[in-house]
Amino acid sequence: MPASPDKITLAGIQSAFADALSGRGDTALAPHIKPMPGVPTNVQLDIYRNNVHAALARSTEGLYPAVAKLVGEEFFHHMMRDYIQRFPPQHGRMVDYGHELPDFLESYPPVANLRYLADVARLELASYLAYRAPDHTPLNPAQLAGLSPQEVAALRFEFVPSLTLLASPWPVLDIYRLAMAPEGEEPPAPEMDNNPARLLILRSQDEVDMIPLPYGDFSFLMSLQTGANLEDAAAGATASQSDFDLSSTLAQAFSAGVFSTAR
């Protein structure tokens, strides 16, 4: 018996289907699809193309609701076509999809005039990750009682897993709050020029906190995060902000639950 022209392996079908859903054409798959009366094959495949797009776009929109509000839902879903082309998903965990959107927005020409947009996305990603980060008990400052001043000065800290320090030349927290406010309850539009944001983002209890920091506090925590000891981080912070107050900054950091360990 001659081989049927329909003989195709399972891998062949799945490879051809992946092509059809990823914009590489239907020609390899179409001959193997049973005709559906009154419906062209490309329309059948469009149902799957629409499903895939909707699943990825809605999942990503759920991660970046403020970005979606700022550009409009219709534009966001249109933009997702380009994003998915560039960053196709490689596994089935939608909770881990869409994390490259901030970098994508940075160089996406249609939003080049919204220069703050990538940083708003960074804020939303940091908040999303904080909400899902491993649970961790923050360091209790009482554990450091009894250390000598020299030992305290030499301390290096690790931060809780939910924490992000985010700096932006734009007032991204104000922009985020404006985008997320219910209609009719919007706060006044923020001053856009010379109004940078320095934010501490972390989860405490079941909520994500987004805390604006003075310049000295932010640079102090950045130094600690990159491995500086307490004395060097404090010296750097004092150099950048003359009224930097180490003891009050440390007290606030402990109360916000910034540190996980000190050694």
Partner: protein, 292 residues
């Protein structure tokens, strides 16, 4: 052939798919329901309130883990990282049932975010059998496999879907998750008799039933039914559900709703309607057997 033997006691009442928007209704309202169901992929997280909330729900209700990301119909083996994460959730939440789909989503390193149709061939059956066996060994328990909604069929299929499912059950010992809405959607799209489908599946392998709503898209002169989980369960699906219960008896039944989410009370009403269908048919069966 012996019927599907559940690993855990099955709840005798209906359940609802748990959505974040309904956490409060569930935790504070403590609705009278048999179980809740979630997609494990949504809980593959490092930590945080999602997992602790699910734990709180689990402490009050049996739980079903209904996977959408394992891609059991793939030519490629199941992603070991996915299985590890799924096993961790199974160990932590001790679900009464774990289920997946007769479908595929992954080819090599392409993940296609939908439940894609499988050519119903002996080669696909071999791949699906290997993957179901692998998952069951990794989890140390049997799983249920659900019939999907499809919008195309392959011309080189050498089995019907009920024949494929029957062979899969026989080869792996898995059970079936019968999605009544998907049967209706496929029967209308592909032109087969949904009652004939119910008669052809191995009814004693069914461990759970799904009910959902769908949408009807118009293309030219004909309708195409799309499984959206975005509408109330319609009368055709309720009627087919009755026919399913008549044939296979009462089963844990889930109301699935993922889109156009209504108030929780609306879903609870659908769950109560399903309970009513099962109770009245059981009553009818008792009366019939007394009369006979």
């Amino acid at each position: 052939m012996p019927g599907f033997q559940p690993d855990r006691p099955m709840p005798d009442k209906t359940g609802i798919g748990l959505k974040v928007e309904h956490y409060r209704d569930v935790l504070e309202g403590r609705p009278d329901l048999g179980f809740f169901e979630v997609h494990p992929e949504n809980y593959m997280l490092g930590g945080g309130p999602g997992l602790t909330t699910l734990e709180a729900v689990r402490s009050n209700y049996p739980l079903s883990l209904h996977g959408v990301g394992a891609s059991l119909g793939s030519y490629d083996p199941v992603d070991p990282d996915h299985l590890t994460r799924l096993k961790a959730l199974v160990d932590r939440f001790e679900p009464f049932v774990v289920s997946e789909h007769l479908s595929w989503s992954r080819y090599q390193d392409h993940f296609l975010a939908d439940l894609l149709p499988l050519p119903l061939t002996t080669a696909a059956l071999a791949a699906m059998t290997a993957n179901v066996n692998h998952m069951q060994e990794a989890l140390g328990r049997t799983i249920l496999v659900e019939n999907p909604s499809t919008y195309l069929e392959f011309s080189h299929a050498d089995m019907t879907e009920p024949e494929f499912l029957r062979a899969l059950v026989k080869a792996t010992g898995c059970g079936l998750l019968l999605d009544v809405n998907n049967i209706h959607v496929c029967a209308m799209n592909h032109g087969f008799d949904p009652i004939g489908y119910l008669d052809a599946i191995p009814g004693d392998a069914v461990g759970e039933i799904h009910l959902a709503g769908h949408s009807i898209d118009r293309y030219g002169e004909r309708d195409i039914r799309i499984d959206t989980h975005g509408a109330p369960i319609n009368d055709d699906v309720w009627a087919l559900y009755e026919q399913a219960i008549i044939r296979i008896g009462p089963k844990p039944t889930l109301i699935e709703r993922d889109d156009n989410l209504p108030p929780f009370a609306d879903l609870l009403a659908e769950a109560k309607q399903a309970e009513h269908v099962m109770a009245s048919l059981a009553q009818g069966a008792n009366n019939a057997s007394v009369a006979g």
